[in-house]
């Protein structure tokens, strides 16, 4: 299944538009990771999301890596992705008021990143506000819901 967007083409997206991409009624699992170029643990775990994208086979899994870098840092995000390409759908969340969107993702999310949320049929089925230690750990986090 195509991810539809190369990470090098990272585009700013408003929260409402982003919600439309992940809150869908179908048999696809939407894995959403929130990261930023300034976040050390986030960068450490990004390769695991690439690995999941590579090994998803015919499973209907969409992986979104959403940068929470500020809009002003878009060029830095593009530069970063040239050095460390992502094979996931990558956007930059173009919002400044985090309080307005954090709870709309999950009320358990304090706002700390990295954070990863899995949506199915428009509902959250898994949430983690911490770094994954391996691709296998991320795989089992997703697998139980697929």
């Amino acid at each position: 299944m195509t991810q539809g967007l190369l990470s090098q083409d990272v585009k700013p997206i408003k929260f409402a538009d982003f919600q439309k991409l992940i809150l869908k009624t179908n048999d696809t699992l939407y894995v959403v990771n929130f990261w930023a170029t300034w976040c050390g643990p986030c960068i450490e775990e990004l390769p695991y999301f690439n690995n999941i994208a590579d090994r998803r086979g015919d499973r209907k899994i969409m992986i979104f890596t959403i940068s929470l870098d500020s809009r002003a840092r878009l060029s830095s995000v593009i530069e970063f992705l040239k050095r460390k390409p992502l094979r996931t759908a990558t956007f930059l969340l173009d919002e400044t008021d985090a309080d307005a969107f954090i709870d709309k993702i999950d009320s358990r999310w304090s706002g700390a990143i990295p954070a990863t949320v899995v949506f199915k049929n428009g509902k959250i089925v898994a949430f983690k506000e911490e770094k994954f230690e391996s691709t296998d750990e991320l795989e089992s986090f997703i697998k139980t819901h697929y």
């Binding site: 976040c39 706002g111 770094k131």
Partner: protein, 198 residues
Amino acid sequence: MTKVLLLAMLFSMAINAQGYKVGDVASDFSLKNVNGKMVSLKDYSAAKGFIVVFTCNHCPYSKAYEQRIMELDKKYASLGYPVIAINPNDPNYDNDDSFANMVKRSNDRNYTFPYLVDETQNIAKTYGATRTPHVYLLQKSGTTLEVAYIGAIDDNSEDASAAQKHYVEDAVNALAKGQKPLVTSAKAIGCTIKWKKS
């Protein structure tokens, strides 16, 4: 017996994991300041409350808010609400957060408030802090400290002058007038607290 102990342990862990909610009574602490002296909230007999900020050296969001934290102390310490900064991070993750570097940062930037190290991370766990920066505004009521606001400093991490909502300032202003803050919590993006690996 073992089962009871285990249950008790799990129960206390669950409480820790949850942390404080607005309205809860906050516990005092005794933590080492950058000048080597221990600091407790009870030392501040004249204070009406405290702006407790879990923050650190390395986190870009903490850096982005550093000036604003310094200004909060300058503005509100004289009104009875001093800033108490606490670094809860395991310095093994990033040496920027080591005690020596905390001392350096505090001196370089002329912090007017204590910058304490939460070496055991127990205070961050008790309060329920999860990210840096993470504010707990406390109001003194007799001998107890009540949590009046939890969360973000304002709604624009990048640009203080563009912030529309000044959560902490509004909450302290309300408390100083003897009122309850209108907004008692707000979230922000931040760095995870770097917990020690067990």
